[in-house]
Amino acid sequence: MRRFERPVPTLWWLKRRAYFLFILRELTAVFIAVYLILFLILLYQLSLGRQAYETYLGFLATPGMIVFHVVALVAALYHTVTWFGLLPNIIVVRFGEYRVPSKLIAGANYVPWIAVSALIVLILTRG
């Protein structure tokens, strides 16, 4: 008997809030990748000497670059927070029949994150 196959709409990711949020999370990776490329260029310019490095810093201080970095920061935060929220479903810690509650596993990720971020801020502001 002839069966009917329903086509998948191109805009399937708009059909559900969860799909859209998922696509958004995937897209954050683009901003993070571009940020890393800019950062690698920064290191390269540094290796070329003071003059090149300072010219590049000037470029990074242009309004467009500042806007990009703010957006990339928001993207990175969104990715991190949503990912930490998913981790309790992946990392299951059990003691016998007892399963460590999700909140504790999710929360445990914030501690090293905040600690490392604080350390970096400390190093940057002291230098």
């Binding site: 069966r3 009917f4 969860a18 998922f22 992946i90 059990r94």
Partner: protein, 248 residues
């Protein structure tokens, strides 16, 4: 007083008489304690006996009455009319599966995927009955119990955009059940199943959209199972590479 009614827009497909599915409007009796399946049964019994659909237990156990209800994959026996009344309800066959007739989908693909992971206890050597049963502690049971609750309703496949775009994907329930047996202390088929699962069409096709877990009527959390399977497959791989003498 005339009886209250509710409108159901039901997708119909009669392959012998039409090229494409079309919606048919039915006006069913409405009762506050009725679920969508009750209304469909009412239509079948009193309005149109040609309507085809699957159901059996009408109590969320058999997993055969899954339908798209206003675009959401749901068990029609567990979805109350009163949550939609007085608005009309749109009923369609489960998404991401071919339609066989009306609300009946072709589920061969799911059945093949399910058997492909051998969701039963695999033993290298069966011990003789005289040695007694395979015993299990409550803690060992707790490791896999959640994943063993699956009723094979396929709602998760209907909610999964990866399966929609790539029908080769093994899919949520089959992987969750494979993981369930991998976690079972009586089972010895883990490395065999990992070969099946650890492929581009298996666990690694999943991008963790997570809607399968949202729609699952019995809280199996197939998305969690897939990510846990990724984690254990990876740690098993590292152990095999770093400590080949360890075996499994």
């Amino acid at each position: 007083m005339s009886k209250a009614t509710i409108v159901l827009e039901v997708l119909r497909y009669r392959p012998e008489q039409e090229q494409e599915p079309t919606f048919q409007i039915y006006e069913s009796e409405y009762r506050e304690d009725w679920v969508v399946l009750d209304a469909i049964n009412h239509i079948k019994d009193h309005i149109d006996g040609t309507l085809s659909y699957r159901w059996s237990c009408r109590m969320g156990v058999c997993g055969s009455c899954g339908m798209m209800i206003n675009g959401e994959p749901k068990l029609s026996c567990a979805t109350f009319l009163r949550d939609y009344y007085p608005d009309p309800i749109r009923v369609e066959p489960l998404a991401n599966f071919p339609i066989e007739r009306d609300l009946v989908i072709v589920m061969d693909d799911f059945m093949e995927k399910l058997t492909s992971v051998k969701p039963w206890i695999l033993r290298e050597h069966e011990k003789p009955i005289s040695e007694g049963e395979y015993r299990q502690t409550p803690a060992e049971l707790a490791r896999y119990k959640q994943f063993s609750m699956c009723i094979n309703c396929m709602l998760c496949y209907s909610a999964c955009p990866v399966y929609a775009l790539d029908p080769q994907f093994t899919g949520p329930a089959a992987i969750a059940l494979a993981h369930r047996y991998n976690l079972d202390s009586r089972d010895q088929g883990r490395s065999w199943r990992e070969q099946v699962l650890s492929t581009e069409e298996g666990i690694w096709a999943c991008t963790y959209v997570g809607t399968c877990t949202v729609v699952c009527p019995v809280d199996v959390d197939p998305a969690g199972a897939i990510q846990q399977a990724k984690l254990s497959t990876t740690t098993d791989w590292f152990r095999d590479v770093l400590m080949p003498w360890k075996g499994r």
